[in-house]
């Protein structure tokens, strides 16, 4: 392809090729502090391409391709090319990752122990991970936690943090010194702005952590907390994993081992200040 960028995020190498320069330039800028794939060989390839040759220039729209594709995926306008690249990279992980059990969860680390936060879109897992990373926690990732079935350790995947709608302003105010990507307005997921993980998160991304606590946050409720029994945590995590079935018995062993080893709590929170306090309290009790 005309333009290309390669990067390693945690243990996973990507190569993104594009018919256009702009998304590649944005990736190169935002991922400037990241290394290249191990030995120069990417694990996954993403292609951003024009559906027809003239669509490179006339009302350019970006199709997402790669080793794994969703046939019904709609193209995005070129102004959202960065989002297309991130979606393509996520898609490769979701459909192609076989080494790790992929949990749709954010992860932060303190003292070598990992806090995992999972929930549906809008639950606040990216926002909370971003805020905690400004309060002495190491950001391991906002989208996928990589559970190694062989060791039970969680590996970091600190891609750009995808902030949506109200979360953009919340994190901008909490971290005015942080680097952000361009505001992508009116995407299929609403407004999106990417936060660049801080240098410490990138520098430590090869250091896995032992899971210590699993939280299921829910935004928009009065403060509440309850213990989540292992069976419920197991079911919710199978639903939050894109490759549990594909991993077969390795996935079963990894997930049953995880929910038996660490406590799980559901926390409802009305605002982020309350959430941070609840998370710290749950952590202190774990």
């Amino acid at each position: 392809m005309r333009h290309a960028f390669s990067v390693r995020i945690g243990p996973v190498g990507f190569r993104v090729g594009s018919d256009w320069r702009a998304p590649i330039a944005q990736l190169a800028d935002l991922y400037a502090g990241y290394p290249a794939p191990q030995d120069g060989v990417p694990d996954f390839t993403v292609r951003l391409f024009a559906a027809r040759p003239w669509r490179r220039v006339v009302r350019p729209s970006v199709m997402i391709g790669g080793d794994y594709v969703l046939p019904e995926a709609a193209p995005l306008p070129l102004a959202q090319g960065l989002l297309a690249a991130e979606m393509g990279m996520n898609l490769q992980m979701a459909l192609g990752q076989r080494r790790y059990l992929l949990l749709h969860a954010s992860a932060v680390e303190r003292d070598g122990r990992a806090l995992l936060m999972t929930g549906q879109s809008g639950a606040g897992k990216s926002t909370l991970a971003a805020l905690l990373s400004r309060r002495g926690w190491r950001l391991m990732g906002d989208e996928f936690a990589l559970l190694d079935p062989a060791t039970g350790l969680v590996h970091a995947f600190p891609r750009l943090v995808s902030l949506k709608n109200q979360a953009i302003g919340v994190v901008e105010r909490a971290a005015p010194e942080a680097r952000f990507g361009p505001l992508l307005a009116g995407t299929p997921k609403g407004d999106i702005r990417h936060l660049v993980p801080d240098a410490a998160a990138v520098a430590a991304m090869d250091r896995p952590a032992r899971p210590a606590l699993l939280l299921f946050p829910s935004f928009g409720f009065d403060p509440a907390e309850r213990v989540v029994p292992p069976s419920e945590a197991f079911v919710r995590l199978t639903q939050a994993s894109t490759n549990y079935v594909a991993l077969g018995e390795r996935g079963f062993d990894a997930l049953t081992g995880l929910v038996q080893a660490i406590p799980a709590r559901a926390i409802d929170y009305p605002d982020t200040d309350s959430a941070i306090a609840q998370v710290e309290a749950a952590w202190a009790a774990s």
């Binding site: 069976s231 197991f234 079911v235 079935v245 018995e249 079963f252």
Partner: protein, 89 residues
């Protein structure tokens, strides 16, 4: 009369999570969440197998099952057969 037997134990990986028994069925790659009396049914049937009335008699000592024809046992057995965890012989 139909004899029912549990699938061979080496085809299963089992974890016990609070009130649930989580079973990974290796031949199908499917994970099943079982609650009482399903794990007890599998344990009682074993690989040798038994008929429904014999199973009912075995379990009735420990569980409220209703009578063998109208109670829940035939339905539970049918579910386990459909899941591949029990086979009629």
């Amino acid at each position: 009369m139909t004899l029912y037997r549990a699938c061979r134990v080496e085809t299963l990986a089992i974890a016990w999570l609070d009130d649930f028994t989580v079973v990974y069925h290796r031949p199908s790659g499917i994970t099943h969440l079982l609650t009482a009396p399903a794990p007890e049914i599998l344990a009682a049937l074993g690989e040798a197998g038994m008929t429904l009335p014999d199973l009912h008699a075995r379990l009735a000592a420990s569980f409220e099952l209703g009578d063998a024809d109208g109670g829940g046992l035939p339905a539970r057995i049918a579910e386990l057969v459909a899941a591949g965890l029990v086979e009629p012989v």
